[in-house]
Amino acid sequence: MGFGDLKSRTGQQTLNDYLADRSYIEGYQPNQADAVVFTALVSPPPADLCHVLRWYNHIKSYSDSERAKFPGPKKPVGAYGPAVSAASKDDDVELDEDDLFGDNDQEEEEEDEVRQERLAAYAAKKAKKPGPIAKSSIILDVKPWDDETDMTKLEECVRTIVADGLLWGTSKLVPVGYGIKKLQISCVVEDDKIGTDFLEEEITKFEDYVQSVDIAAFNKI
């Protein structure tokens, strides 16, 4: 409805958008609409609102007396601009609509409340129920630096990693070649608590023994 306050930035912005594809406020010739909005603008618009500035300069090129002689009826500033036709039509209908919407709002609020309560109850119920814990069995390949690495020491180090939801299983040494063996160790983890990233990080912390860690197998239980 109108352009809002034309002295404010937002009002001028609205006017700018409105004038993007128009040369005049209304129609294709200067008329009273331009004169009225021009007077309402008071001062030249900032340079970054290029459409308003173009229009402003164009209207300014007419003298005051010429502007007064522009054709068309003179209306208040608020009557011009976007969506003016919808706003100025049948005030009664609009009031009715307002009431209608008011009712709707209340009903919606009540509905919302009920729904919120139900959601809360459901969430609480879900939290209490101890659902099945998702676990995974992981087999890790831990590779030493060379054949001189003490594999028993390495295994001990790995087994010192203790965390909630982590359970070490059996291990064996698998020959890789040239007398080098790698440690293959299995473990069972709770998916929610332990991630493979955590395992890899923790094991590679033993830099003295461990060159790298791979995941050889990953099975959901």
């Binding site: 958008d17 594809d21 040369s23 010739q29 290029c50 173009r54 164009h58 976007p82």
Partner: protein
């Protein structure tokens, strides 16, 4: 350059004068009008003569500066717009015009001039087939074009070019 003849005829109707018979001369299809007062060659000379004959000298600009500017745009129509071959060159012209018209309502000063009229006639064929996407791309040219085509008596038999996707839909009303 059949458009030149069309432009001359349309301008004559707009001004309410008689253009006489337009012939296209030579390889360049230069429009020529033979009248009682002499022979005139070229779009610019012919149209300027028509304006003077109709005693609407304000269309040529009121000050020396404006007259020079109008002349330049007439020359632009002949040397740039009419010689456009292919979409790429046209896109270049439109881009140029778009930049120029960004802060202007009319080409020269603040009134309709012969420059607007001839560029409107010259651009019309290109605008008729233009998709909405491009029209919105060349927003400033489109706005100017839309404004000029509403000038009384100017459009004549030229088809109306739509700039809104539908007539009911108004971009500003939501």
């Amino acid at each position: 350059m059949a458009e030149a003849g069309q432009s001359i005829a349309a301008l004559a109707t707009y001004l309410g004068v008689k253009a006489g018979k337009v012939t296209l001369d030579g390889r360049d299809k230069l429009p020529v009008v033979k009248g009682k007062t002499g022979t005139r060659r070229g779009l610019v000379s012919i149209t300027k003569h028509l304006v003077r004959a109709a005693e609407k000298n304000s269309l040529l600009g009121n000050t020396a500066e404006d007259q020079a500017a109008v002349d330049q745009w007439l020359e632009y129509r002949v040397s740039q717009l009419d010689r456009c071959q292919g979409d790429k060159e046209l896109a270049g012209v439109l881009k140029e015009l778009n930049a120029y018209l960004a802060d202007k309502v009319y080409f020269v000063n603040h009134t309709l001039s012969l420059a607007d009229i001839l560029l409107y006639y010259g651009l019309h064929t290109h605008f008729v087939g233009m998709p909405f996407y491009d029209k919105e791309n060349y927003m400033h040219v489109s706005r100017w074009f839309d404004n000029v085509q509403h000038e009384k008596g100017l459009r004549q038999t030229f088809p109306y070019v739509h700039f809104l996707r539908t007539q009911i839909y108004d971009r500003m009303s939501h």
